[in-house]
Amino acid sequence: MHLTLPTDAGEPLSAVVVADAQVRCHEFTTRTRQVSLRNTGTNTLWLSFDKKAWFDVACGTSWDDRVSVEELWYCTQVGKTRFVVIGIALLEPPSPETPAPEED
């Protein structure tokens, strides 16, 4: 199978987001295969992928995992915090009908 990109490559889907006490949703433009984020603000960030199970990311820390999601939910307990989120788009394997480029 011919791949034009390294097997660990992917389109980055990055955004700077501000969280406050209201639960909000960040939607990726496509499904991810990995999400990394860094809480660059001064308050603890709370995250969820299903709006049921929540976990926290302390200010100044980062979090990443190989998760395949289309959205994530976020909020703070008090105040605001800013975070940078980078999703890596899930790469679809090339279709078997796609011809490999000819080699010289």
Partner: protein, 158 residues
């Protein structure tokens, strides 16, 4: 979930009162938004503090191990930094923005008596944390309203 990485804060300004308030200058095109928001969102100054009056602000203290900062003013100030260890308010409601001001801030960590004539010895502070939530009060103990004020509180994670 994996462990998070050791904290390294880039954004550690907890409070700032800056009078006169700097205007929001346009960002340079093609450069990152280093501040992340207009400066007017960070600056808590709204109007000169009259004699005997104060401004106050609250923040989660948990992310930090120490707080430090400076102040400068044309009037003498009394800057009080105190902490609360309440996780809920008197009604048992977990602390949110709407009730953080109603907690009991029993732990007074510092009362800084700022004297404009003694900027060096009285214009700075450094305190450890004594509780879960932080309260900072800046009181004008002079005879006139403030015409110049620069008070900053920053948090350190180390």
């Amino acid at each position: 979930m994996p462990m998070t990485h050791y904290p390294k804060t880039t954004d550690n300004l907890v409070f700032a009162w800056v009078q006169p308030a700097p205007p929001d200058a346009p960002m340079k095109e093609g450069m990152p938004d280093f501040l992340g928001r207009p400066y007017s969102e960070l600056n808590l100054f709204r109007e000169p503090i009259p004699p005997g009056e104060f401004v106050v602000a609250y923040h989660d203290a948990q992310p930090f191990t120490r707080f430090y900062g400076t102040c400068a003013c044309d009037q003498p100030l009394e800057v009080t930094i105190s902490f609360s260890n309440g996780d809920v308010d008197a009604d048992g409601i977990v602390v949110h923005d709407s009730n953080i001001a109603e907690l009991n801030y029993d732990g007074e960590a510092l009362k800084l008596l700022y004297d404009p004539a003694k900027q060096g010895p009285t214009g700075k502070f450094f305190v450890t944390i004594f509780g879960r939530f932080l309260r900072v009060e800046v009181k004008n103990v002079g005879e006139e309203p403030t015409t110049m004020l620069r008070a900053y509180v920053r948090g350190s994670v180390f």
